[in-house]
């Protein structure tokens, strides 16, 4: 019930923002949307499949650099290049998972950490990626129109994010998501019921990479410039923190977390030096006192109605 209400609320905010919000707020709402979509990939990987990736920022890099390079060197339009680059990110994620997911989950954290480092060094050291200087993101052209107004970028980014978030939400509630949840809760039981642990987990990593690459490509349109410093272990850790704060069981957690990380620093602008420290301290406290994230405040209602339903059922039985 809360899930559907939340969807209505998010869509209402996204649809009304262009009419009510100023340019600065509109930009930030757009950033919240793409960040949430990037993080929703992690939600699927960690919250559903129980695995940790410190490489979400690397997949974002593959999506955004990939799309820009496809446009610059092969002339592929960005709106086609972004899904292509997201697919490449997915293949890379699949390969990474295929190579190391026959092992225990921690190894994935270590491998993704190393992969993130390699991607960052590669971006800095290649000429084609602009090295440490970075790359300017060209504007999108569609049927001869150049879509570079803030409004056009907002509409594209929010649409792409909504597609990503909705797809991840559907996947969480699909048979595939349920099998991954079963694996997380008891892999021995799930495997004995016929779940293929390695291929399911590999697909989960590939899914999260596609989400990161796709939403990352659209975030590149918003940022208009690719700076290698956006794609480090530090940013990958930020994505994990966003997931934890909002709650890692649903995409709504990713949206709430992203909104906090985008808007709170603006409200506390006098403390900007201490902002990152305050946020991470808050994340640590959250993990201890509210490990299901801020979203779990709302699920109190669900738990209550579940409890009432079970009482009701017992009365009838």
């Amino acid at each position: 019930m809360w899930g559907n209400l939340a969807w209505v609320l998010w869509l209402a905010i996204a649809a009304l923002a262009p009419f009510l919000a100023g340019q600065y707020l509109l930009y930030n709402i757009g950033i919240v949307a793409t960040t949430a979509a990037i993080v929703s990939g992690l939600t699927f990987l960690s919250g559903v499949a129980g695995l940790i990736s410190i490489a979400q920022s690397a997949f974002v890099a593959i999506g955004s650099y990939g799309a820009v390079l496809l446009q610059m060197h092969l002339g592929i339009p960005l709106l086609i290049g972004i899904p292509v680059a997201a697919a490449i990110a997915g293949v890379v994620g699949w390969l990474l998972g295929f190579l190391c997911l026959r092992l225990d989950g921690h190894y994935l954290a270590l491998v993704t950490l190393a992969f993130m480092g390699i991607v960052h060094y590669t971006i800095i050291n290649l000429d084609i990626t602009g090295g440490a200087v970075g790359l300017a993101v060209p504007s999108v052209t569609l049927f001869g129109f150049t879509l570079d107004s803030p409004m056009a970028i907002y509409v594209m980014a929010v649409t792409a994010s909504a597609i990503t978030l909705w797809s991840i939400d559907r996947l969480i509630h699909s048979r595939y998501g349920r099998m991954l949840r079963a694996l997380r809760q008891s892999d021995i039981a799930a495997v004995s019921l016929g779940a293929d642990r390695r291929s399911l987990r590999t697909m989960a990593l590939a899914t999260s990479a596609v989400a990161g690459g796709f939403a990352g490509g659209f975030q590149a349109l918003q940022l208009t410039y690719l700076d290698p410093q956006q794609f480090t272990i530090v940013t990958a850790v930020f994505y994990i923190a966003i997931m934890v704060v909002g709650g890692m069981r649903s995409v709504h957690g990713a949206i709430i977390g992203a909104a906090i990380f985008v808007f709170v620093p603006g409200f506390l602008s006098g403390l900007e030096h201490y902002m990152a420290f305050i946020l991470f301290f808050f994340v640590t406290v959250m993990i201890v006192v509210m490990p299901d994230g801020l979203v779990s405040i709302f699920s109190v209602g669900d738990r209550l109605s579940g409890w009432m339903a079970s009482r009701h059922g017992r009365k009838n039985a």
């Binding site: 092992l103 190894y107 993990i287």
Partner: protein, 291 residues
């Protein structure tokens, strides 16, 4: 030619001895609690900053400053264990691992906020003017690194082999349930592991920091500890030592014979390569988990 090679082996082994300390700290926590501590590098960073703080702001001499840094780092480990890891001990392992990532980031950003993003000077332990012995130059401050690492490892060996407490920790690492049954208190050994490992982080940081630059991002050096630990199989302390020294030597050789940019990538590549090809490290046979 030969002397260059020996020089590279020596400098590799010196860096490697520090990686070995890092790997020991990581393997201890992993064996004792099942958690890979992703905040280890940031704990190392905090240790060095405490040293700098004690010297520059409290005006302490180097030896007492080192002592303060190591003790405060141990207390930090105690705080992490009792305030965060202990309450999370019965949660799925994902949660404590994410907690270590968050603690690490909080420490890093905290130091960046309070001490600034710019590098601080860290004193060398001994003089940096080299002696030449048969075409090989030997730097006292490098020898101090190697010496510190060897002394620490010897102390750890004595502690684990010959003291009751050390034996209890090893037992709790090898078989937590079995250790509980014979009356080893799990909480105490886990706390001991966290304190010990955090002190090791500070020591490793203090010896390696003069060779690099001390910024809040120095904790990234923990990658080398992860690579060393994985080389050694992430399970045994001797494996961690050999893995560390091996990593140091590979890094020095790759940096000289291939390219200096390789030096940074090599530990990332080893981390992935070893996990993919030799998941139980160089020395162990594969152990298959049975139902």
């Amino acid at each position: 030619m030969v002397s260059t090679f020996i020089q590279l082996l020596l400098s590799g082994a010196i860096a490697g001895s520090v990686y070995a300390l890092l790997a020991i700290g990581l393997v201890l926590i992993h064996n004792g609690t099942g958690v890979v501590n992703f905040g280890f590098g940031d704990q190392l960073m905090v240790g060095v900053y405490i040293l700098v703080f004690a010297q520059q702001f409290l005006g302490l001499a180097l030896p007492p400053a080192i002592l303060v840094a190591v003790i405060v780092s141990g207390l930090l480990g105690l705080a992490i264990q009792s305030l965060v890891m202990m309450p999370l001990r019965n949660r799925p392992v994902l949660i404590p691992i994410v907690a270590t990532i968050a603690i690490g980031a909080a420490l890093r950003e905290g130091v960046r906020a309070f001490m600034g993003p710019n590098p601080w000077p860290v004193p060398f332990l001994l003089s940096t003017s080299p002696y030449r012995i048969g075409g090989i130059s030997i730097v006292p401050s490098d020898l101090a690194i190697l010496g510190t690492a060897i002394v620490i490892m010897a102390c750890l060996y004595v502690f684990f082999e010959f003291t009751r407490y050390g034996q209890a920790i090893l037992a709790a690492c090898a078989n937590p349930t079995g250790a509980l049954i014979v009356g080893i208190p799990a909480g105490t050994t886990t706390t001991g592991i966290w304190v010990l490992s955090s002190m090791l982080a500070a020591i490793a940081g203090i010896v390696i920091a003069p060779l690099t630059t001390l910024t809040p991002d120095i904790g990234l050096i923990a990658i080398k500890g992860f690579a060393a630990a994985v080389l050694g199989g992430f399970a045994s302390l001797p494996g961690a030592v050999v893995g560390g020294i091996l990593l140091g030597i590979i890094e020095a050789l790759a940096g000289y014979y291939i390219s200096s940019a390789m030096k940074d990538i090599v530990s990332y590549a080893i981390l992935i390569g070893v996990i993919v090809l030799l998941p139980s490290g160089l020395f162990n046979r594969v152990s298959v988990r049975k139902v």
